[in-house]
Amino acid sequence: MKPAADAPVVLSTHGLVSGYERDLPIIRGVDMKVTKGEFLLLLGPNGAGKSTLVKTIAGLVPVHAGTIVQEGVDLTSMPPHLRVRHGLAFVPQTENVFTTMTIHENLLVAAQILPKASRAGRIADLYAMFPDLLRLKTLRAGQLSGGQRQMLAVARALIVEPSVLILDEPSAGLAPRIVREVFDNLKAVNATGVTTILVEQNVKAALAIADRAIVLVEGQVRLEGDAHSLGDDAVMAELYLGARHPSAEARP
């Protein structure tokens, strides 16, 4: 969903510095703003800190300085589960489902923070959105294929009706056909009004579904702009696309 030009900011970071060790910041001063309903793409070469940035926002990496604000609430020192309650959902790149539990149990776990009365209904909604999951609901998540796992992980994140959904490379390790499917799903979710932040290596495919993109280099924002024009940007091509595609197919 393309947000209106004056759409309110839902999530922002200010001078964010974070990293696992005090003396070794990985994110080094990131300011970013995400507006309501926007589909934002986070790009950058390997080791740029994309994953660390989204994990920091989700509450998994210690913040050294700066703030994270969502809809007027300061999340900076909130534990992860309270951020979920506040409407921030995160899908990690790996180990993003509970493999020893069934699909249904995975959804039940996530639904626990909803009021008791609405849990079953919300799970039913998700099954309606992902009919494959309903078919497999008694299967242990560890037995699912990569694409099915990703689907479950997204469904689990959506249970709480988040206002912001963050995904860390959901396409990693998936076959191209499945990647398209996952992206279509994400686009559909975004179209319902869920602000989406996506970390991706699959630059071309992702630029096609995103509204805006931010390019991160060495823990700082290097470039940011409209998704469609960014695909043609020369710096971008040199920095990122060029490195990955020596034929420079992204250039005109």
Binding site: E21, I26, K50, S51, T52, L60, Q93, E169
Partner: protein, 330 residues
């Protein structure tokens, strides 16, 4: 004055015998990251093996083979090294704390064997008349204490030099690589297990040697010398000194033994006789609190470690958090 000197030599000799155990533990924990909670048991094996080998023939226990002291020490190191090898081989492939549990169990079992196998160890009565080095000086206390101190100091120095050399050798470098770097350890596969096992057995052998030197220094051993409190003291010594650091291991032994002896005499002078057993437990409370406090506030010990242990101890939260080692990003 002479008394004081003689006591000083005695005190330092005991501390140095603990320093030997500490050096052995440092090979296992400091260099290799293997957690041994059965130190008392392994020290006991060394003490008993050496005692059986060197005491004059008797009907009270197995042997007395009357061998020279050096043979006893060698036998002690070999026997204990073998016992640690067995325990290590059983658990070293499994999760880290299974080794801890298994060594804890081994110490319990060893203590029980010493207590119950009366025909071998003479059971709760212990073994006396263990030949003491420089026995010919026994009627001159100062010379006797100094000679024993010199012997122990020489053993500690020799071990220290050998272990430092070993740590710098290719073998030591492989060990460090295995400990510091999981992928490297995985790449080494089976041989990583072998290296760790070798280190564990070597550390055990040193503990056995320490047990033997202690036995010959005191001249008498009994099962109750080898209770969990001994394990605990040695851990406190290594942690205080700084794991991974051989000099720290020696210093820690002297410092902690000093604190132990001082607090012991404080208890003796502050509490009435009938309360002393009770008050002695406060000593243990104190050491326990000190160990926890050091783990919390100064995990690198007094001397810290020679840059070896840091990352291993301080980072890397194991509970399914592949954070620092996530290969894809960061």
């Amino acid at each position: 004055m002479i008394d004081l000197l003689s006591y000083g030599a005695f005190f330092l000799s005991v501390a140095l015998s603990y320093a030997i155990i500490c050096l052995g533990l440092n090979v296992q924990w400091g260099q290799t990251g293997l957690f041994n909670v059965g130190i008392a048991g392994f020290v006991a094996i060394g003490a008993y093996v050496s005692a059986l080998l060197t005491t004059p023939e008797t009907v009270d226990h197995l042997g007395g083979f009357g061998l020279p002291i050096m043979a006893g020490w060698l036998g002690a190191a070999l026997a204990t090294g073998f016992a640690t090898f067995l325990i290590g081989a059983l658990t070293i492939r499994l999760r880290a704390d299974y080794l801890a549990i298994a060594t804890f169990g081994a110490a319990v079992a060893i203590h029980l064997c010493i207590l119950n196998l009366q025909s071998v160890t003479s059971g709760p009565f212990g073994i006396g008349f263990i030949p003491r080095p420089f026995a010919n000086l026994a009627d001159r206390p100062l010379a006797f204490s100094l000679a024993n101190f010199a012997l122990l100091a020489a053993v500690v120095l020799a071990l220290y030099l050998a272990l430092e050399h070993l740590a710098r050798s290719p073998w030591g470098r492989v060990l460090r690589a295995i400990r510091e770097d999981e992928p490297a350890a995985l790449a080494l596969g089976k041989s990583a297990v072998r290296f760790r096992l070798q280190a564990f057995a070597l550390g055990g052998a040193i503990m056995g040697l320490a047990g033997a030197t202690q036995a010959h220094f005191i001249g008498y051993i009994a099962p109750d010398n080898y209770q969990p409190i001994l394990t605990f003291q040695v851990w406190a010594m290594l942690i205080v000194g700084g794991s991974g650091n051989n000099r720290g291991a020696i210093l820690g032994a002297v410092v902690v033994w000093g604190i132990w002896a001082l607090s012991g005499s404080a208890v003796a002078s502050l509490f009435p006789a009938e309360q002393q057993a009770r008050a002695a437990s406060l000593q243990i409370v104190m050491i326990g609190l000190a160990l926890c406090a050091i783990l919390l506030w100064r995990p690198r010990g007094i001397l810290g470690e020679a840059r070896i242990m840091s990352r291993h101890v301080l980072r890397r939260s194991p509970p399914a958090t592949p954070l620092p080692s996530t290969p894809s990003e960061t």
